[in-house]
């Protein structure tokens, strides 16, 4: 044990006297005089001819503000250019969003894109209702070879549907002829839109963001709300642009691919044409939301009572002034521009969709196949075929797919060529 020797005068909290000897003293002693800061910012009194600051010094000596401005603009342009280029390179490696197993389904479709005639796009009601293993044989038997793939994702609304349509078309699938879409509203509210989720950011590319911004501009919200929405969507777009936080997902996806970790799942997805149900062995396709972990009990009385009024509610008045009709038209233009046919389908929905009725009345829906009538399709509304009032189970999906396939076969056979409006 020794007693430390302290300087007689002011004594620091730290061991001023005991600090290992350094030429320039302790950091605390150096304080502002630290060598680093002399470099970060050259003191006014110091000669600016030091080698490390030679360039800025010349700029100052030149006194040419205009030249300095040009250099600054050039540097910013170079930075932005290199950044965008590198970010674009990184983005090529970003995998499809992984929630609810969508990444596996998109990957399988991408790998087999030239084998399919049709795809189904839409929210959970599409995701749960369309069974290609039921649909394809029936339609094919009717005389038209038909193979379809299910790409419904829970919560996929208007803008996201348009995004995936563009993504699918960008893959240039050779055989693809029909895109079946469940019409959905073009929702701009970031909270409803799950904007900052993995999926929300992924779909916020320039085209989608442009569409959304236009939709917000056309809305009847006050300017503060519109500014908030604009800012929110621009932020999501910039996240996508910068691939913010995508590093771990890129590495994980590369590793999984390298290890062939998704092989079994891909095989099942391929076999079922993208349809995944509550028997899915991976447990992530059907019950991604905790809401469905234990489906709430359905009160039969309430359920059937609601069904009785569904037709009336579907015909209810709906003000389309805030509906982004332009994006709906754009969706059609994109599909038809690629030489494909867009067919809107309304599955056996439990909730009323008066806005589809209103749009159809205005002739905005083109070909529309509607199944949301408990009177016409009582089999599709059997309570035992539903996991909750809104979604059908595997059995319900089979019933729906059967009905859909028959209608499609009939339609193509010319028996019922006229499109049918939502009831």
């Amino acid at each position: 044990m020794t007693l430390s020797i302290e300087p007689k005068k002011d004594v620091a909290v730290g061991p001023q006297g005991k600090r290992p000897a350094r030429k320039d003293g302790t950091a605390a002693e150096r304080g502002q005089a630290s060598l680093f800061f002399d470099v970060v910012h050259v003191p006014e009194v110091e000669s600016v001819s030091a080698s490390e600051i030679a360039r800025p010094a010349r700029a100052a000596a030149g006194g040419s503000g205009a030249r300095g401005g040009r250099v600054a603009v050039g540097a910013v342009a170079l930075f932005v250019g290199v950044f965008l280029l590198a970010a674009h390179g990184v983005r090529m490696l970003v995998p499809w969003p992984s929630d609810l197993g969508n990444d596996v389904r998109m990957r399988v479709f991408e790998q087999h894109k030239d084998e399919y005639d049709a795809v189904y796009i839409g929210p959970s009601t599409v995701y749960r209702s369309f069974r290609p293993d039921v649909i394809d044989p029936i339609v094919s038997k009717a005389g038209r070879p038909f193979r379809s793939f299910q790409l419904g994702f829970g919560g996929m609304l208007g803008y996201e549907q348009s995004f995936y349509i563009r993504e699918i078309l960008a893959m240039q699938p050779r055989k693809l002829r029909w895109i079946f879409v469940e019409p959905s509203q073009f929702v701009t509210d970031p909270t409803m839109f799950n904007l900052y989720s993995e999926r929300g950011v992924f779909r916020s590319d320039l085209t989608t963001t442009r569409e959304v911004l236009r939709g917000i501009a056309l809305s009847t919200d006050d300017w503060q709300e519109r500014a908030r929405l604009w800012a929110g969507h621009l932020k999501a777009w910039s996240w996508r642009l910068a691939n913010l936080g995508k590093g771990p997902a890129i590495v994980a996806s590369m590793l999984r691919r390298h290890l062939d970790a998704d092989a079994i799942e891909e095989e099942i997805v391929l076999k079922q044409g993208g349809f995944q149900d509550e028997d899915d062995p991976f447990g992530r396709h059907h019950r991604g939301f905790s809401l469905f972990e234990q489906p709430p009990p359905i009160d039969p009385k309430v359920y059937y009572q609601d069904l009785k009024t569904l037709a009336t509610r579907n015909q209810g008045r709906f003000n389309l002034s805030s509906f982004d009709i332009e994006s709906l038209r754009e969706q059609r233009r994109v599909v038809e521009g690629a030489g494909l046919e867009l067919i809107y389908i309304v599955p056996s929905l439990y909730q009323p969709v008066p806005w589809i009725t209103a749009l159809n009345a205005q002739g905005e829906m083109g070909t529309l196949m509607a199944f949301n009538s408990p009177t016409d399709y009582p089999k599709l509304y059997r309570l035992r075929d539903r996991i909750d009032p809104v979604h059908v189970n595997r059995q319900g999906a089979a019933a729906f797919s059967l009905e859909f396939a028959k209608r499609l076969a009939e339609m193509w056979a010319g028996a019922s060529a006229a499109p049918e409006g939502t009831r």
């Binding site: 044990m1 020794t2 007693l3 302290e6 002011d10 004594v11 620091a12 909290v13 730290g14 061991p15 001023q16 005991k18 600090r19 290992p20 302790t26 950091a27 605390a28 304080g31 502002q32 630290s34 060598l35 680093f36 800061f37 470099v39 970060v40 910012h41 050259v42 003191p43 006014e44 600016v48 080698s51 490390e52 600051i53 030679a54 360039r55 800025p56 010094a57 700029a59 100052a60 300095g68 250099v71 050039g74 540097a75 170079l78 930075f79 250019g81 290199v82 950044f83 590198a86 390179g89 990184v90 900052y196 910039s238 910068a242 691939n243 913010l244 936080g245 590093g247 771990p248 890129i250």
Partner: protein, 464 residues
């Protein structure tokens, strides 16, 4: 508005462009002052009057101190009391009430007192200490009071260091306000690099570690000892990355505006004793306590025991400065204790690796209470770390990708400390042609952003 947020980037780019486009030092300073208040109001506009009050009060009191030599002590006391009352009320009122109620309950005397719903003004500990240092320096005759109120307000409110330091001294900062700042004197490359380093430390390293270890610190009971040790070690890394990142980014922002901030970190984890650690960690705070508390208490001029008592007192107060919680008081006590012990025991006699190991052990254990939200949680954690509590859960350091990379922790410690030796980097950068630097910077940013932990987390030191 956090330095890691996009809106800060937009704010700062706009400020920078307008600031350097303005002609004249006065216009630039006034503009920055305005921006600083806007920045502060962005947190909570209701807090702006408080900082304004503090600024006006100390500006006026400093003038009184020099103008009324006969009663200068009285004016200083008023400044000290007013500043510490503000700090005490906003930061410690509820803590004292709760502690008093708890203590009386322990004595068997039930007390019923109400706490107040007080908003903790961000940065109050930092700007109060800056303000105090100003009046004390004026009182000591080290500094002449500044005549221009706007200059003084600028010193207090300068936004890069307003929220979490470094705690600037008026004598270091005010002289910078007299001359005009020149863009030509700014080493843009070093500043930008420093900002990026800070960004990586915060958004990539610290925030990812936080995601991984937060569940462990929230419920350490029953967690396996190895996991607890790993979580504690990771927190040591996180805290350094988080806080030093703020200082790096603040210094870089100030540097781009032409101002120098004081050095706050100097590779603290490379220290070989607790005493050395405190000369390298949060330097602006430790030197503040040294100059304005330790030395007035007598420093080390008395007996060794007296010195030890002084040190212990200073560190307990240093702990309390960090926040109103018993965990932080104990943190201060632990460091005060080790500082005092090192007055009697020559740590330097130990082999070098042992000295490092000793320091890191003290840090890992003491910082675990710094992180714990409750003393009982810390005790539970310590019991688990030393195998005194049965591991009943399978909780790991979260499912994050960090866990399999535990072996990277010591390497990260060393690498990150090396970054503190930035002088070499800054010098090297100053010689890199601008176009090459710009291209490399664009590339670096593009490859860093994918590794950011998405979701903004406030800097840990914001709560202090």
């Amino acid at each position: 508005m956090l330095f890691t947020e996009q809106r800060f980037a937009l704010f700062f780019i706009a400020v920078l462009a307008i600031y350097w486009a303005l002609r004249g030092n006065r216009a630039r300073k006034n503009f920055l002052l305005l921006c600083s208040y806007a920045f502060y109001a962005g947190w909570d506009w209701r807090l702006t009057p408080l900082i304004l009050f503090s600024t006006v009060m100390d500006y006026a009191l400093a003038l009184r101190i020099t103008g009324d030599q006969a009663r200068k002590k009285r004016w200083l006391v008023i400044s000290l009391v007013a500043n510490l009352t503000l700090l005490g009320f906003f930061k410690y009122f509820n803590f004292f009430i709760e502690s008093a109620v708890g203590f009386s309950a322990w004595l068997g005397i039930p007390l019923s007192m109400h706490t107040l719903a007080i908003v903790l003004p961000v940065g109050i500990s930092f700007y109060t200490f800056e303000s105090l240092s100003y009046t004390i320096d004026v009182y000591r005759g080290i500094l002449k009071p500044v005549r221009n109120f706007l200059d003084y307000a600028f010193f207090i409110a300068f936004f890069p260091k307003l929220i979490a330091g470094p705690i600037m001294r008026a004598k270091d900062f005010l002289p910078q306000l007299t001359d005009g700042r020149r863009w030509a004197n700014v080493n843009v490359r070093a500043c930008l690099t420093m900002f990026l380093i800070g960004y990586i430390k915060k958004a990539v390293i610290s925030d990812h570690i936080a995601q991984a270890i937060d569940p462990v610190f929230a419920a350490p009971a029953g967690v396996a000892a190895s996991t607890l040790w790993l979580a504690a070690a990771l927190y040591t890394l996180q805290l350094y990355c988080d806080f030093s990142a703020y200082s790096d980014m603040a210094t870089a922002c100030a540097g781009l505006l032409g101002y120098r901030l004081t050095l706050n970190f100097d590779a603290p984890y490379l220290s070989q004793s607790v005493r050395e650690f405190w000369t390298r960690w949060h330097i602006s705070l430790s030197t503040w306590f040294r100059d304005y508390l330790f030395i007035p208490l007598g420093g080390s001029r008395g007996t060794p025991m007296r010195t030890a008592v002084n040190l212990f007192t200073v560190f307990v107060l240093c702990g309390i400065w960090h926040g109103a919680a018993w965990t932080l008081v104990i943190f201060g006590m632990i460091h005060g204790l080790f500082m005092s012990i090192e007055r009697f025991v020559d740590v330097g006699r130990m082999p070098r690796p042992l000295r490092h190991a000793y320091l890191l052990l003290v840090l890992v254990l003491s910082l675990s209470i710094f992180r714990s939200t409750d003393v009982s949680l810390w005790v539970s954690m310590l019991r688990g770390m030393f195998g005194l509590g049965a591991a009943t859960t399978t909780a790991t350091v979260s499912s994050s990708w960090i866990l399999p990379l535990w072996w990277l922790v010591p390497i990260a410690f060393l690498l990150i400390q090396a970054v503190d030796q930035r002088v070499h980097l800054a010098r090297a950068l100053a010689r890199v042609p601008m176009w090459r630097f710009t291209a490399a910077y664009g590339l670096s940013v593009a490859f860093v952003l994918p590794w950011v932990a998405v979701g903004y987390r406030p800097f840990i030191y914001f709560q202090f």
